[in-house]
């Protein structure tokens, strides 16, 4: 794999306002790179610098070893094609003629389109499924058809790199999938390098190999979708609370928005709740309580644990310990601090071994400090006691000192909401 495009220390100002500053990255041949970021973060400006439509204040862009700002437009167009966002074609060319314009960069001034050009155009149109309406006027096309024609024209350029500026911004979901599947197919089939500005984070996560998250003209984070699309990064850059789960099929991060209006509505009965769980026993409860607008904390959870993942994706504060490790005293202490800051504590149905026994002690600590403690599901601790009875002892003490056993989620919610009202 060699480097197809390199952006070095790129800075751009518009009317003396900085739009991009110190942008550095490389794109390898055959990579699909997504550029994401809020409105005004410089996404489109970055794209226009990459194809030399705008001249940067500082820095340069290397296209396969040549400085793009020293290349002729024709030379650039021979290896880089652009699919823009707004593609209202307001004139009467036929679809075929419009796609044939993709051959312009490869033709001499008075050179007529030859057999080779016609072959390339036909292939591009077949791949994008627009050969069947080649004689129609571009003005009569629907949005999805038009975008396919533009894509066909870009392919007719036989580019090494294709730049997309929110190519499906105005299309409905069926066309979005169609266009992106097509792009992915070309990426895999022809080893085409793709750089796409995208608004839709889920689309970006699903189709891109790497992502650049721009914030105020600087790269906030660059990496794989898993590394870039996290609750913290999104919260920091977009200033919006989101929940991140996994796409059910592709397993890429999936962003869900949290309507602010709901948070406002439930704020009146919001409670601070600390959850002691693990092994997935607390996941569904955490989600439920989260959507009810509760302020949650959790601990101590091992990194990589199912409950830990849920807490991360919901943006819940939690004390975390290394994977499969004994809970350290230090973490235990942090956990107790969290308990002190909460209104009530919920203990879920998680198995206890030597490693996490301290979590049970934390629950006991809460009861002793007169915090309401609820034992949710799994009343018979013997079934999940792997400590030879120690856990069962503590569990018994918990119950003796007033921890309540609640088996039903809605009952638990009702009790928590009623409390102190």
């Amino acid at each position: 794999m060699y480097v197809n495009l390199k952006v070095h220390d790129l800075s751009f100002t518009y009317q003396s306002l900085p739009v991009l500053s110190g942008v550095n990255f490389e794109v390898k041949k055959g990579d699909v790179l997504g550029i994401i970021g809020p409105n005004g973060s410089g996404k489109s400006t970055l794209l226009k610098n990459i194809n030399a439509l705008l001249k940067p204040l500082k820095g340069f862009v290397m296209l396969e070893g040549d400085n793009i700002f020293k290349m002729s437009r024709q030379k650039i167009a021979q290896s880089m094609a652009v699919v823009p966002q707004d593609t209202s074609i307001g004139f009467n060319f036929s679809v075929y003629e419009a796609v044939m314009m993709g051959r312009v960069p490869h033709l001499g001034r008075f050179q007529k389109e030859g057999e080779d050009d016609r072959t390339v155009v036909k292939e591009s149109m077949e791949v994008t499924n627009c050969w069947s309406f080649k004689d129609r006027s571009v003005m009569e096309l629907s949005g999805g058809e038009r975008q396919r024609v533009i894509l066909a024209r870009a392919l007719a350029q036989e580019p090494e790199i294709i730049l997309l500026d929110e190519p499906t911004a105005f299309l409905d979901i069926s066309y979005q999938t169609e266009i992106f599947d097509l792009i992915k197919e070309l990426n895999i089939g022809k080893n085409l390098t793709v750089i796409a500005v995208l608004h839709d984070l889920n689309l970006a996560a699903q189709y891109c190999d790497h992502l650049i998250l721009l914030n105020k003209g600087e790269i906030y984070k660059i990496g794989t979708p898993d590394e870039v699309i996290t609750v913290d990064n999104i919260q920091e850059v977009y200033g919006t609370k989101v929940i991140i789960s996994k796409h059910p099929v592709s397993k890429t991060p999936y962003v869900s928005l949290l309507p602010k209006i709901q948070n406002k509505f439930v704020k009146a009965i919001s409670r601070k709740i600390h959850i002691i769980g693990g092994g997935g026993s607390a996941s569904s409860l955490m989600e439920e309580l989260f959507f009810q607008g509760m302020q949650l904390t959790a601990g101590v959870l091992n990194v990589g644990d199912k409950d830990w993942e849920t807490a991360k994706n919901l943006g819940i504060d939690c004390t975390e310990e290394l994977p499969f490790s004994f809970l350290s005293g230090e973490k235990h202490g942090e956990n107790l601090e969290m308990i002190k800051n909460s209104d009530s504590v919920i203990l879920t149905n998680t198995p206890f071994g030597r490693g996490n026994l301290k979590n049970l002690e934390a629950a006991l600590f809460a009861v002793e400090k007169n915090f309401p403690v609820y034992i949710y599901e799994g009343f018979d601790v013997r079934l999940r006691d792997y400590t030879g009875g120690e856990a069962a002892d503590i569990f018994q003490k918990l119950k003796d000192k007033g921890a309540r056993e609640i088996a039903n989620k809605s009952e638990l919610l009702a009790i928590i909401k009623d409390k102190n009202d």
């Binding site: 437009r73 074609i89 009467n92 312009v104």
Partner: protein
């Protein structure tokens, strides 16, 4: 695709036919046959075929008065259509032509100044008028272009607005000069409203070099013009040096406009109607649109000029008045039907 050569050939044939027929129209009653004979008799090598059986004054009427006028009419119509097609393509707006972006007014002012100097100071520089007109066109264009420019690009809307503003201003200056011209006002006025009367071969020769140079440049970059129709950014992405092509096109079209205005005054709407109509027939590809428009525009103008000569005979109506009568409703129609998108 394949019918293009036929359209061109047909139009060339029709243009020749029109020239001969319109040459027969006039106060002196000379038949088509005689016109044909007179023309043939003057072609070197063919003279022996024809026996002269007409009065020799007819020679003068046909060859020195009617022929140059018809040929000039053809050139003017063709040139205005080429310039109009170039401006429309470049600005992606069917309402653009040398008049709407102020270039004609600039040319007219340049020519008016030249004539004003001639008449009031008794100077003579006949050959200088097209040059002055070209200078006026270029200066007006430079004003409009820089007024309309935003950063490195010239958006269509601001260019049209700037054209309107500069046109109005220049028209005011022309009116002022005409007032100052006193008794010579009639001459300037008749030239300005657009006419082809009393034009001879020297006028044809005077403007031909400008028009050939401009037209060749426009044809040379006609494919780029097609790509620019997609949008300036898209054209740049397809390898076109958009700003360079725009400048060349604007200068070439101004050169043509300046030359035309200097001999025929302000003949409006030809550059608007013809390319638009032709586009409906041959499509928007400038490689065919421009030559077809040129032929179409030439034919259109020689027939309109014949109408101008005969409709109120013996009084001649300036051809610019007739083109305005026909063109203004067309402009309004375009404005109404294209209002939605304001594009092709």
């Amino acid at each position: 695709m394949s019918r293009r050569p036929f359209i061109i050939l047909f139009l060339i044939g029709f243009a020749l036919f029109s020239m001969v027929v319109t040459t027969t129209i006039g106060v002196a009653d000379i038949s088509s046959i005689d016109v044909f004979k007179i023309i043939i008799s003057k072609i070197p090598g063919l003279t022996f075929l024809i026996e002269q059986d007409w009065p020799s004054t007819w020679d003068t009427i046909i060859l020195q008065m009617r022929m140059p006028r018809v040929v000039l009419g053809f050139i003017v119509g063709a040139s205005l259509s080429i310039a109009g097609a170039a401006f429309q393509g470049l600005l992606r707006n069917p309402l653009a032509d040398p008049y709407t972006i102020g270039v004609s007014s600039g040319a007219a002012l340049g020519a008016t100044i030249a004539m004003f100097l001639q008449t009031s100071l008794n100077m003579t520089f006949q050959i200088g008028i097209p040059f002055f007109a070209f200078l006026g066109a270029i200066i007006a264009l430079a004003f409009v272009y820089n007024l309309a420019r935003v950063g490195n690009t010239v958006p269509v809307v601001t260019l049209l607005l700037a054209g309107v503003v500069i046109s109005s201003f220049l028209s005011a200056v022309i009116s002022l000069l005409m007032l100052l011209a006193g008794e010579h006002i009639r001459g300037i006025y008749f030239w300005l409203v657009g006419g082809l009367s009393l034009r001879n071969w020297s006028h044809v020769l005077m403007i031909l070099p400008y028009i050939i140079a401009g037209s060749v440049a426009i044809m040379f970059w006609s494919r780029d013009l097609n790509v620019i129709l997609l949008g300036e950014e898209e054209a740049a992405n397809l390898g076109i040096e958009v700003e360079k092509v725009k400048k060349i096109m604007l200068v070439a079209a101004s050169l043509i406009t300046g030359a035309v205005v200097s001999v025929s005054g302000m003949i409006g709407f030809v550059g608007l109607i013809i390319p638009h109509t032709v586009r409906m027939i041959v499509g928007p590809d400038h490689r065919i649109l421009i030559p077809t428009s040129a032929l179409f525009g030439g034919i259109y103008l020689i027939w309109i000029d014949s109408l101008a000569r005969t409709v109120m005979a013996p009084v001649e109506v300036p051809v610019g008045i007739i083109t305005a009568f026909l063109g203004a409703p067309f402009f309004i129609y375009l404005l109404r039907s294209k209002r939605k998108d304001f594009r092709f």
